[in-house]
């Protein structure tokens, strides 16, 4: 076990993948000498060379599009998109090519591409640096979408994503990059919990609280605070957003009868909607109350002085828990 930051844990995972498979290549802006703007690729170009850790010109569509060509050639590219809000120029290549080539070619061409995306807010940045675009990609068949919430997962799941033969979007909660945690580097990604399985991080009996990425920490804190009030929250870290591991969520909701989903992304058409709908379909007769979503608002990501009003925090999550429990809450008395 080693104490390391989230960013260092990903770095160590990337290093292992580069060591274990000569076909792994990294592509991105500023990932070489600088080590990435968040230093996630620190030292990798020095150790593996400019042909395996490639500083690219500033063109996101080309970064992803050339990764497609490398995959055609048998490579296993790992792409860094510098910030969430910079991914859109690559949208066509991701949605029309990366996601569909395996299907298009009837399985002849594999697209084992990992697209790393630092995402989410809370770091006081200007526009385009704090977005949560995951739902655009969970809506796209052919992609796998995962998030990580702690250094150990960050280390293990990045290796699982890279060795996966399907394309994977790997969302990194950038406001947690400097959080430290214990990482066991000897965990074998092949025998570890698969990346498409959710994990119950806090067991509880009264309400199922589903979170992912940066809000898993907030959700755990909320569970501690709720416990002080005598409420037992079961916190689930979804980890995989496409596909969602509904078996784990269903088992929890059948036990608690109540569901709160939280994410930083806006509400409409988001993961919360998908989870709430699917759980309602599968657990309707176990539900004691309507599922509750505690999410960012349907607004462009706001200027940083007000971003904490947009991001679900501990108290907003607890307010949602109160709603699920029928306890007095900020919307008491409102219909619908």
């Amino acid at each position: 076990m080693t104490q390391m930051t989230f960013a260092r844990a990903i770095n160590a995972g990337l290093r292992k993948s580069l060591e274990n498979d000569p076909k792994v290549v990294l592509l991105g802006e500023d990932i070489g000498a600088l080590g990435g703007v968040f230093r996630v690729t620190d030292g990798l170009q020095k150790d593996f060379g400019k042909h395996r850790v490639v500083d690219t010109p500033l063109a996101e569509s080309a970064i992803v599009g050339t990764a497609v060509g490398l995959a055609y050639r048998g490579y296993r590219p790992v792409v860094e998109i510098q910030f969430d809000g910079f991914i859109y120029p690559a949208f066509d290549q991701i949605v029309s090519q990366v996601a569909k080539l395996h299907y298009r070619t009837r399985g002849a061409v594999k697209m084992p591409i990992t697209i790393r995306v630092p995402f989410g807010g809370g770091i006081g940045s200007p526009e385009h640096h704090s977005e949560s675009p995951e739902a655009y990609f969970t809506h796209t068949s052919g992609l796998r979408v995962v998030t990580v919430s702690n250094p150990q997962d960050a280390h293990t799941v990045i290796q699982q994503a890279i060795s996966c033969d399907d394309p994977v979007l790997y969302f990194e909660p950038k406001r947690r990059y400097h959080d430290k945690g214990e990482v066991d580097e000897s965990v074998d990604p092949r025998t570890a919990v698969p990346m498409d399985q959710a994990r119950v991080v806090t067991e509880g009996a009264d309400v199922t609280l589903v979170a992912y990425g940066p809000l898993v920490k907030t959700a755990r804190d909320a569970a501690l605070a709720a416990a002080d009030e005598g409420i037992s929250l079961e916190v689930i870290d979804l980890r995989s957003l496409a596909p969602v591991d509904y078996d784990t969520v269903v088992a929890s909701v059948r036990k608690t009868g109540r569901l709160v989903v939280t994410h930083e992304a806006g509400q409409s058409g988001g993961l919360g909607a998908e989870v709430a709908a699917s759980i309602t379909e599968r657990c309707f007769y176990h539900l004691e109350a309507a599922p509750v979503r505690v999410t960012g608002f349907d607004i462009p990501y706001p200027y940083s002085k007000l971003e904490m009003h947009h991001l679900p925090g501990l108290d907003r999550i607890l307010d949602g828990v109160d709603r699920a429990l029928g306890r007095p809450n900020s919307l008491s008395g409102l219909e619908g």
């Binding site: 063109a59 599009g65 050339t66 060509g69 055609y72 050639r73 290549q93 029309s96 061409v109 996966c164």
Partner: protein, 392 residues
């Protein structure tokens, strides 16, 4: 000839960095080796590249061009007869496709648009595979690795990035093969094509940008895409370019060989503009009479790529009735085989739509497939399940 003859050796030994390519900044001149009336013009820089093109080879180029025109005519007929949903004709672009396609080596890799069916023929494609996509039976015709040609790209220009990335892989592997990407004049306005040229130049990877300027992007003329000749754009990226008569099979072949040779020897990318004309519609769903002048079509008909080779063969005394018969027979045989493959192609099965979305099991999709399987089973015949009037 034709299939399997794609890897003719390069006659002249080029250093790669030299060669008769345009230097950045100089307006490109149009290279022509066969005039529309079939006169062979000698060219001190290109002729050495064509020393292996014997009379027999010239006859074989004539045959391949005739065959792919026949494929095109047959596919258009199949569309009109309801056997294909759509077809993108290549009529008029035979020299651009055969001249370049025949210059490639088997281990080169092609990333093309949907119109390069003649190039696919040069790669040795199974004839039925040419029409599979257009019949609606599949999203791809062939296994790309079986003929080293990617599934043709429908998103305009997207494949140029794939070729550039593939070439980065070739460079990493230390191989001397080349990635060749085909696209049209319209694609040169796309961001992807421009980004591909930036990456290709920065990394000096072995890729050839083969732009068939057929003058029209559906209804938009090339002058809407560019104020300068397309070949001249390459200079801005630091990429050498060549501008050739795209209806001249020898000029195209020579230019492609220059570019391939440069790429194989570490000289990086080349941009080729093959100036041609889309004699037919964009696809069988298009109506060019709405947007272009009949006189223009006539002018280009006079520059037909096959007629001029025919005229050249005639001047050389090679256009014998035997050759003409042999070429006709070959074209007819190919067309027959393609038609038979098309009309006897087994229909895909309903549950095929779930195949290959992922390469590993996916819980979401497995559930949807399971549910749809049960739904289909509730009908006697799966076809009833999708009847517009309903069948329950």
């Amino acid at each position: 000839m034709g299939q399997g003859s794609a890897s003719a050796p390069i006659a002249a030994d080029f250093t790669g960095t030299g060669g008769p390519a345009q230097t950045p900044g100089r307006a490109a001149e149009l290279v022509q080796l066969i005039t529309p009336s079939g006169e062979r013009i000698s060219h001190p820089e290109f002729d050495p590249l064509l020393q292996d093109i014997t009379d027999e080879q010239l006859c074989s180029l004539f045959e391949d061009m005739t065959v792919i025109r026949r494929i095109d005519v047959e596919a258009t007929a199949l569309q009109r007869q309801g056997e294909l949903a759509l077809w993108p004709p290549l009529l008029g672009q035979e020299a651009a496709q055969i001249g370049s396609g025949r210059a490639l080596r088997a281990d080169d890799f092609v990333f093309s648009s949907y119109r390069e069916n003649g190039v696919a023929y040069c790669r040795g494609v199974d004839l039925t595979d040419i029409v599979r996509v257009w019949r609606g039976n599949s999203s791809s015709g062939w296994d790309p690795y079986s003929i080293n040609m990617a599934t043709p790209q429908i998103i305009i220009g997207a494949q140029t990035l794939h070729a550039t990335g593939y070439a980065m892989g070739i460079q990493n592997d230390g191989a001397d093969s080349v990635a060749v990407t085909y696209f049209g004049d319209g694609a040169t306005s796309e961001g992807d094509v421009n980004e591909a040229m930036v990456f290709a130049a920065s990394f000096q990877v072995p890729v050839v940008f083969f732009c068939t300027n057929n003058q029209w992007a559906i209804s938009e003329p090339v002058r809407l895409q560019s104020h300068i000749q397309l070949a001249d754009r390459a200079a801005g990226f630091g990429i050498p370019s060549l501008r050739v008569d795209g209806n001249d099979v020898l000029a195209v072949m020579a230019a492609t060989r220059v570019a391939l040779d440069r790429a194989r020897h570490g000289g990086g990318p080349t941009f080729i503009e093959a100036v041609s004309y889309r004699m037919g519609p964009h696809t069988t769903a298009d109506d060019p009479t709405r947007y272009r002048d009949a006189n223009e079509l006539e002018d280009w008909a006079a520059k037909d790529p096959i007629s001029r080779v025919e005229a050249l063969l005639d001047r050389k005394g090679l256009l014998t009735p035997e050759l003409q018969q042999q070429v006709r027979d070959k074209a007819d045989a190919v067309a027959r085989e393609m038609r038979a493959g098309c009309t006897t192609m087994p229909d895909p099965q309903p549950l095929d739509i779930f195949k290959h979305v992922y390469s590993t099991p996916n819980s979401w999709l497995d559930r949807q497939q399971d549910h749809y399987t049960r739904y289909l089973a509730s009908f006697g015949d799966p076809a009833e399940a999708v009847s517009e009037e309903g069948a329950r």
